[in-house]
Amino acid sequence: MARSWQNPLRDERDKRLPRIAGPASLVIFGVTGDLARKKLMPAIYDLANRGLLPPGFALIGFARRDWADQDFGEIVHDAVAEHARTPFRESVWQRLAEGIRFVPGSFDDNEAFQRLAKTVTELDDERGTGGNHAFYLSVPPGAFPVVTQQLAKAGLTGGDGWRRVVVEKPFGHDLKSACELNAIVNSVFAEESVFRIDHYLGKETVQNILALRFANQLFEPIWNANYVDHVQITMAEDIGLGGRAGYYDGIGAARDVIQNHLLQLLAFTAMEEPLSFEPSQLRAEKVKVLRATSPVEPFDETTARGQYGGGWQGGAKVPGLLQEEGFAPDSTTETYAAVTLAVQNRRWAGVPFYLRSGKRLGRRVTEVAVVFKRAPHLPFDSTATEELGQNALVIRVQPDEGVTMRFGSKVPGTTMEVRDVTMDFGYGHAFTESSPEAYERLILDVLLGEPSLFPGNDEVELSWQILDPVLEHWAAKGAPETYPPGSWGPPSADAVLARTGRSWRRP
């Protein structure tokens, strides 16, 4: 019956109607963490405020705290009041608060999971969540095996309705561990009900790369090795790692950022046009391009890594990584990583993709810069084009979302002189204020069962396959090079590009 049912009120031309998730609840493990407080809870409120959560939606917290439902409700309330994007409305909050539950317990406590199972069943009756439950594992990957096993043991992974599990990065620390992790999660949840959050993919600008490339005639003809000289993908942060030692020490910039965010950005930038925007089609193209991607050797010359030292940055004295609390004084964790990748297919043969990421760099910025070849012939005197660089198309992912184009233009005056100018499209500074936060989009997609913005396990494994040789090479190399805070990385990073006569763009 369900299959043949046609909702008479649905009309695909009705673009106003928001996609409201069906009845469901969300169980969060690790509610005391930063992520839950700063991102998840506010995102859930914002969704409720936009009217996108189902009536009767329930939020369940699970943690080792001696809290009652109200105490947890208060925590959520404070998190929402402080971090939510949309204005606080009492009526919306009251509806949300009615569905908030808390289950105290630790991960090895069988009884706690029985209580959780009971709470979930009660919610099915009281709030009509209909057996649809998503489990958000906002916990270190080390806890995945025990939590998933406990969920299975308590009978929470099956029953009426759907069960989905949401996991956060890191998805392992190399190919082997990622495969193990996938095996553990997949032993309890089928692959189609596993949602791996890469919050970059929830950003409007990342989705806009697809629109820019595949909805326009202007860019696609030049989007290949005939015209593109190289591609730079940058994710820089100006903050350090104070307070994040537990997570970051031994992980480093490459595992933290390049393996997931930057390789996904590369996939979006380099992939072929999908047949349609069906999740499976989109994934198929991403997998294809990742499979064609490999690191360029020799790694001594094509990769760089660094560690920020202490010094002055932007008017404040900041400690180096080794002085940050929690890091070993001889830590070899890199806070800057740059790699050179090649995409071996007809479209991209010979075009290097440079990926870099780091902490305590000049400023916070994420962008994809496609740098074009020089015009093959310049009918000007060489003096006229001395200041002319290479054309570039830059997709600014954050902050100041938009697209920049650089091209040559005549300098006003009596002589012919051509110089680089910038053309800017900003989707408004404003756009960011009212555009949904990435987590909102992703949580909604989980509840709707819409997987296109989540990397599948094959993508995760392929990404590790690309990065593993570089990581192995680095592991044998000892301490990374130190770079001053507020700079754009160590000198060896500049050498990576200089060896082929190129240079990093200053974002």
């Binding site: 009120l9 009251q94 989707y427």
Partner: protein, 312 residues
């Protein structure tokens, strides 16, 4: 920044805009559309501009306000340019048109339109009877009216049905979106049974209630009863009759709705009435004809006239 240009012409306004851009460089944001606001000069005007400014945070636009002043005064345009903090993420050009010029809004607006960008015309007050025939409506891709602001809202919305031209839309329709979304979602879950009848309850002069009833009549193809009430403002309740029991969405206080379905606990939904700027933001999100609105308007003729009156 607010710059007054009393007794001006549009070419002076234009050169001032270019001058501001060259001097400040501030007006370099990508504008996605021109929003023309047509209204009588008066107290309501600032509210409309404020709502449009708020909407510009999601849709950066140039806002041109054609404010009709006294028709008996001498012919004159008083211009005003607002940029920066006084204009949200937009630039606002207010043209106060006096005397015979009050009827010549189009000639004043055309020189100031952004090149290529789509044009949306919005009448925050009582709009023209046939928006597409209005000179300022004819140049626009989208024409936004607000039946609720008319003197006789229900008669107005029925007239809109008669005069509909693709590209027309009405804020009374936009205010319905949350209701419609909940009703559609309610039919997405089991039991999957056909709806045999529907009842829509609301204020007698609420155009949104009419449109909701019209939408249900058009899509469900069942008799829809329209019940009027004086107990609350706007839409109060909808019920969809099905063999296993009714789906009911009831909002007695204009804020919180209760959704009841057979075999499921009653659920409460925040369903507050939407502000003008919220409605406008949704409206500017799409610039193509709204076929669903058209069908809802056609559905109005299928409605039975008032069958029952509930009073406070």
């Amino acid at each position: 920044m607010i710059i007054d240009l009393p007794s001006t012409t549009t070419s002076q306004v234009n050169s001032k805009l270019v001058e501001l851009r060259e001097r400040g460089g501030a007006v370099a944001l990508g504008r996605v559309l021109t929003l023309v606001i047509v209204a009588d000069d008066g107290a309501g005007l600032e509210h409309a501009i404020e709502a449009a400014n708020a909407a510009s945070r999601e849709h950066p636009s140039r806002i041109i306000v054609a404010a009709r002043g006294s028709r008996t005064a001498a012919a004159r345009i008083d211009g005003q340019i607002r940029i920066g903090g006084d204009a949200g993420a937009s630039e606002v050009i207010v043209l106060r048109l006096y005397g015979p010029l009050a009827g010549q809004g189009k000639s004043a607006v055309i020189p100031l339109l952004l090149p290529d960008a789509p044009i949306v015309t919005w009448w925050p007050g009582a709009g023209p009877a046939v928006p597409a025939d209005d000179p300022l409506g004819a140049i626009a891709q989208r024409r936004i009216t607000d039946s609720a602001a008319a003197r006789n809202p229900v008669r107005t919305v029925r007239a809109r049905a008669k005069n509909y031209v693709p590209g027309d839309t009405d804020l009374a329709w936009t205010r319905l979106t949350n209701w419609r979304a909940q009703l559609v979602a309610a039919l997405d879950v089991p039991p999957f049974e056909p709806v045999t009848g529907a009842t829509v309850t609301g204020e007698a002069d609420s155009p949104s209630t009419e449109l909701l009833a019209g939408w249900l009549a058009a899509y469900l193809r069942v008799p829809v009863k329209r019940v009027t009430t004086t107990t609350a403002e706007g839409i109060v309740a909808v019920s969809l009759q099905r063999p296993s029991g009714d789906i009911e969405l009831h909002r007695p206080d204009g804020k919180v709705g209760t959704l009841t379905q057979p075999g499921q606990p009653a659920r409460r939904i925040a369903l507050q009435r939407r502000s003008v700027s919220e409605a406008l933001i949704e409206e500017l999100r799409r610039l193509d004809p709204d076929e669903v609105y058209e069908r809802a308007l056609r559905g109005l003729s299928l409605l039975r006239t008032k069958s029952k009156v509930i009073s406070a």
